[in-house]
Symmetry: none
Subunit: 116 residues, 2 copies
DNA sequence: TACGATTACGCGCAGCGTAAATATC
DNA sequence: GATATTTACGCTGCGCGTAATCGTA
């Protein structure tokens, strides 16, 4: 069970259609189809019903949806607070520059804040 | 960012050692090393310090740890409720939430099955 | 015919394990 | 030398996209 699947599922639930959700999350429909099948199999429940026009959530799907939203939100909150807690940013800061110096180097950089 | 990485990170934090954590989660040490490096890179933050005897969390790591525990718990709860939502009566229920909104309220709840 | 989901199939990459290297005691 | 992490490297499986197939109106 993966957060990516939860994101996909939220998109499907909100769009009511695999095709629309696929566009929204930039993934091909077959991939989403596979994910939702796999998700249902992992949970041992049927999550949604196939309608001639798209899909619609059934009870278990609604339950999953609310939890999924909560979890995804928690995750985003977590990332945000960890980033802001960073007294010690790490890694090299790579930057591009619009114009190289004559010696082919980037001009010296000024003070840099955190990356968004 | 993946839940698996959060589980791994929790194990590392609690064991204080990559080797011990690796045994606990049944993964080779190098794999965990890669994961924690990747996690730190994704977050743009240094999470722990290498000691000659294992590793120890620094501030950002502690922040991540608490969030990670919360998220993993939420995920397990979610799986449980979805599984049990199969044939259970449903309706609005009060629920606890791992994190209050800024105004001190629980985030809005959706329809759910019963909680044990 | 048109729209949407599923099945089939091939490819690339992420994650894993083994093994070798590095570091600290 | 012992313990613990990191680097190197090959392999397998998962996730994705394309294309073909099925279902319904």
């Amino acid at each position: 069970m993966d957060v990516k699947q939860l994101r996909y599922f939220i998109a499907i639930a909100e769009e009511g259609s695999l095709s629309a959700a696929a566009q929204r999350v930039n993934v091909a429909q077959p991939s989403l189809s596979q994910h939702v099948i796999s998700l249902g199999r992992d949970l041992g429940v049927k999550l949604l019903e196939r309608s001639p026009r798209g899909v619609s959530l059934i009870q278990s799907g609604e339950v999953l949806l609310s939890h999924a939203r909560e979890i995804v939100t928690s995750l985003e909150t977590a990332v945000e607070s960890v980033r802001q807690s960073g007294a010690e940013p790490m890694g090299e800061v790579r930057r591009s520059c619009p114009k190289l110096s004559d010696d082919g180097q980037c001009p010296p950089s000024g003070p840099v804040g955190h990356l968004d």
